[in-house]
């Protein structure tokens, strides 16, 4: 483009190029513009179906969770509780529980005992207010129980849709997988807006009011631990757990990612996670890694412990072990 190329056969003046605007062309252009705009308006008509409160100025202007002042956070908690009451008919006890000093949570699961009954996956749903169309729809549960073939420890040959009459099946064993709360968590590293991060007690959390829904964290997670709200969560009024935390089980908006938080609204108050309490075989062990006398440390010190996908380098806080 250094020189004016030779191939302009007939240099025309600007006036020739821009056909002078006369009545005919003006009407034609106007009609085309009107038709185009009408088409666009018609095309965008579905936007009218947005529910009141789906998009509010407060939501748009809200700051990142970690930049909120205490009074701003209180205001947001109140407006979220109001919204839940209005839309779902349940007034939640919505709080923001901070991590405890001197606590780092760890979880261990006894593969010798797990029978694959999926009670943990169902308990997770009940506790964490996930979206479900029926009571037994565990798609959004934070726990996937994998049915493994004997002789394989690779999850690529596993099946999480297994549905035999009874469990455990012969020649199968069961591997429940949930968020491993990794020390080197790929999900928090890839998030473009820091909507997910590790808390002081090791729990990886999501700010549902900050997440932009790009799902890069889901692609990054080696453990399939994250779920995305492809629609506005559906949950019956009677099924809503009113004991809610801002960073854990409060009702999520559509279009954001969610995940296991080790039930932080329970565990930060000294209770066990819901999946542990429901386990009929006592396969689950939860506790404080920083407390040398905790049960979790007894397991880590005395059992044959391993972590899933060690080669990926995530350094999980979730361990598996064998008893005998």
């Amino acid at each position: 483009m250094n020189e004016i190329p030779a191939n302009q056969q007939s240099p025309r003046t600007l006036e020739q190029v821009y056909r002078p605007l006369n009545r005919r062309t003006f009407l034609k252009g106007g009609a085309a513009t009107v038709a185009g705009m009408a088409g666009l308006v018609a095309a965008l008509k579905p936007l009218l179906a947005l529910e009141k409160g789906d998009l509010t100025l407060d939501d748009l202007l809200q700051k990142h969770y970690r930049e909120l002042k205490p009074d701003e956070l209180q205001r947001i908690l109140k407006s979220l509780a109001d919204k839940c009451e209005q839309e779902r008919g349940v007034r939640p006890n919505l709080r923001d529980l901070k991590p405890l000093d001197g606590v780092e949570f760890g979880y261990a699961l006894n593969l010798t005992r797990c029978v694959g009954c999926r009670r943990c996956a169902h308990a997770c749903l009940k506790e964490n207010n996930q979206s479900r169309d029926r009571w037994d729809d565990i798609e959004m549960s934070y726990i996937r129980v994998l049915e493994m073939n004997k002789g394989a420890i690779n999850v690529e040959t596993s099946n999480h849709y297994y549905a035999p009459e009874t469990v455990p099946q012969k020649d199968k064993y069961y591997l429940p997988v949930q968020c491993h709360q990794c020390r080197q968590s790929p999900c928090t590293k890839v998030c473009p807006v820091q909507a997910t991060w590790q808390e002081k007690d090791g729990v990886v959390v999501v700010d549902y009011n900050w997440c932009i829904g790009c799902r890069y964290c889901m692609a990054a997670c080696p453990y399939d631990a994250r779920r995305f709200n492809y629609k506005k969560p559906t949950i019956e009024k009677a099924a809503i757990n009113p004991n809610q935390g801002y960073l854990s089980n409060r009702l999520r908006p559509k279009g954001v990612v969610e995940k296991c938080t080790f039930c932080l609204h329970r565990t930060r108050e000294g209770k066990y996670p819901a999946c542990l309490e429901v386990c009929p075989t006592g396969a689950r062990v939860f506790g404080n890694l920083l407390d040398p006398d905790s049960e979790i440390n007894y397991i880590l010190n005395n059992k044959r412990v391993y972590v899933l996908k060690e080669e990926v380098g995530t350094l999980p806080r979730f361990y598996y072990f064998f008893d005998k």
């Binding site: 250094n2 190329p5 579905p46 998030c191 473009p192 807006v193 932009i212 779920r227 995305f228 492809y230």
Partner: protein
């Protein structure tokens, strides 16, 4: 400045004039765009469930199209390099088409990423100082920077050259040549960064592979010039703008070389996956 705005305004006016075929084509494109806007409006209200994506398959055609189009944008550099580095005169006639295509394609890339967001209303969270930009940690934040940077570079180069031609004067080299050379490196960077988006995920063995950026570039340098050749043939037939055979022959040569490299890389991948039946390629066996 005023003169430049007049120039933009006249381009806008010019885009409304043409023959019947032009109106038919633009009308068709408008209809497609309006149908797309309608689909997006439904998606915005009902959520991404309208795409059929699931927790198991969380990225789909949006991200695939985005990745492909980044490649097409990067391939514009295959017109820029012969024109400016090897000083091939005949490429100077057509290099502007490459830059203009890059602009169009990058805009499409950005739109594809936007429609893929679950919360497009929160896009400000990605833009400092309103949001919290996870830079340099997140490769997606790198992608935001390189794609928008490439868009601005090409807008400047193409805008400046067209403006000079509009005034029928010679472009001043120092106003655009430095940006042209920057855009060459930048073009490679957009596709490399987009490949790193996938390569950086250690949990996905199929993507976590050092050949991916090289294959992205090699295949883009086949597909991009291929698309340009098709565009040139249409321009030659349908417009008064004359394009000789020489640029097409040059592009053909670039395609041949890039295709050989691409095929070699593909062969290496196939060998790695199929010679020994590992579990990572189990579904392909």
């Amino acid at each position: 400045m005023r003169a430049y705005l007049t120039f933009i305004w006249r381009i806008w006016l010019l885009s409304w004039t043409g023959n019947r075929r032009y109106y038919a084509w633009m009308g068709l494109l408008t209809v497609v765009a309006v149908i797309g806007a309608n689909a997006w409006a439904h998606q915005f209200v009902e959520g991404l469930q309208t795409t059929g994506l699931t927790n198991q398959v969380s990225w789909g055609a949006y991200i695939a199209n985005f990745t492909f189009l980044v490649g097409v944008a990067a391939a514009a550099v295959m017109l820029v390099i012969p024109a400016y580095i090897y000083k091939k005169e005949h490429m100077h006639e057509v290099v502007l088409f490459g830059e203009l295509m890059a602009i169009a394609v990058i805009v499409m890339c950005l739109l594809f990423v936007t429609v893929d967001l679950g919360r497009p209303d929160r896009f400000l969270h990605m833009i400092p100082p309103f949001g919290v930009f996870n830079f340099p940690g997140s490769i997606l934040s790198w992608d935001v920077i390189v794609l928008n940077g490439y868009l601005l570079l090409n807008l400047h180069i193409a805008g400046y050259l067209l403006y000079c031609r509009y005034h029928q004067r010679k472009p001043t080299k120092r106003f655009y040549i430095p940006f042209v050379f920057l855009s060459i490196f930048w073009a490679v960077s957009i596709h490399t960064v987009t490949a790193f988006l996938y390569v950086g995920l250690a949990g996905r063995p199929f993507w976590h592979h050092p050949l991916v950026p090289a294959r992205f570039l090699a295949s883009a340098f086949v597909a991009g010039p291929g698309l340009m050749i098709l565009a040139f043939q249409i321009i030659r037939k349908a417009m008064r703008f004359h394009i000789g055979d020489a640029p097409i022959v040059t592009l053909r040569m670039i395609m041949t070389v890039a295709m050989l490299i691409n095929m070699f890389l593909l062969g290496s991948e196939l060998f790695t996956e199929f010679y020994y039946p590992t579990q990572h390629a189990a579904s392909a066996h």
